[in-house]
Symmetry: C2
Subunit: 167 residues, 2 copies
C-alpha cells in the first residue's frame, strides 16, 4: 500500500496518544507509590517559563484533533483546557481518540495540496496539507509528548525509550 | 504531488537537523555570553541516568543516516561518537547532512513495503519501510532533538517553540 496522508496522520496520532496515556499512567503510579501529591507532577515544568505537564498533554491533544480536522477540511471543537488531574488528562486523551476515530481514510487522503492556514503566536502561517502534517503537526505532537515524558523522567518516574516508542 | 516515502523522510530529516544545529548554536552562544564552560552544557542531562546533550545529538544523526540508508537498501557507515564540543557536534550534523544529500527520491520512493530489521536494545524488530519511517525513525528523531532542546532550555538557554519548528 503506498504511503498516504491518512496513513501518515490518524494512525500515527492514535499510536502517539496511546504512548502518552501510558506515560501518564506511570506518572500517576509513581505518585501513588511514593505518596506524592499527584498535582506536583501535573504542574511540573522543566523551566519556570515553560508550560507544565498538563498543558503539554492538552496541546498534544489539540494538535492532532485540529490536524485531522484541517486535513479533512472540517471544523473542530474548541477545548476548555480545564484538566487538573491525571484522570482528567486521561479523559482528555480518550475524548481526542474518539474524535480521531470519526475520520476515514477517504476524508484525509488527497489532502497533500490543500491550503491550510494556522495562527502561530502573532503570525498566520499557510501550508500545503503535506507541509502542515510533516513540518507542523508531527513535530508539534512529538515535541509535547517528549516534553511530557521528560518532565516525568526528570522528576524520577521510571521511563525508558521503549515507553516513548510504544514498543 | 502525492506524499512519497522520500518526501516524508529525507527533506524532513534535513529540516530537523537544521533546527538542531541552530538550537546548539544558541547553547554555545549562551555559554559564551555567561562565561560558562561549554562542556557543562554538552554533558548536561535531565536525569542522572539519562544520556547527555552530546549523545542526543549523535543518536539523532545516526537515526536519520541509518533511516535513509535502510529505506534505500544501502549500507551505512558506523560512527565513532567522539564529539565532545559544540563545534564537533556541529561538524557531526554537517557530516550527516552531506550523507543525506547523496540520496535521490528514486532510491527511497517505493520503500513502503521493504522489510527492515533493526536492533533495539536486546531485541530485533522487523518493520515495513512505512512503519519503520513513521513509527521508529521519526519518533526517535524528534525525541532526541526535543531532548537536546529541553536539556538546554532547562539550563536557561532562551529557546522557544519557533526554534523547535524552525519557523
Amino acid at each position: 500500500m503506498p504511503l498516504s496522508m491518512y496513513q501518515a496522520s490518524v494512525p500515527v496520532f492514535v499510536r502517539v496518544l496511546g504512548v502518552l496515556s501510558k506515560v501518564l499512567d506511570k506518572g500517576a503510579a509513581f505518585a501513588e507509590a511514593r505518596s506524592i501529591d499527584p498535582s506536583v507532577l501535573v504542574n511540573a515544568r522543566l523551566a519556570p517559563d515553560m508550560l507544565p505537564l498538563s498543558r503539554q498533554v492538552q496541546i498534544a491533544g489539540d494538535m492532532v484533533m485540529r490536524g485531522a480536522a484541517r486535513l479533512a477540511g472540517q471544523e473542530f471543537p474548541n477545548t476548555a483546557d480545564t484538566e487538573k488531574t491525571f484522570p482528567e488528562l486521561q479523559e482528555r486523551i480518550a475524548k481526542t481518540l474518539r474524535f480521531l476515530d470519526g475520520f476515514t481514510a477517504a476524508q484525509i487522503d488527497g489532502s497533500e495540496e490543500r491550503n491550510i492556514t494556522v495562527k502561530f503566536g502573532d503570525r498566520s502561517l499557510t501550508f500545503t496539507g503535506q507541509d502542515y502534517l510533516l513540518n507542523f503537526v508531527l513535530p508539534n505532537l512529538y515535541f509535547h509528548v517528549a516534553a511530557a515524558y521528560l518532565i516525568l523522567r526528570h522528576n524520577g518516574v521510571e521511563l525508558g525509550k521503549r515507553d516513548f516508542l510504544g514498543m
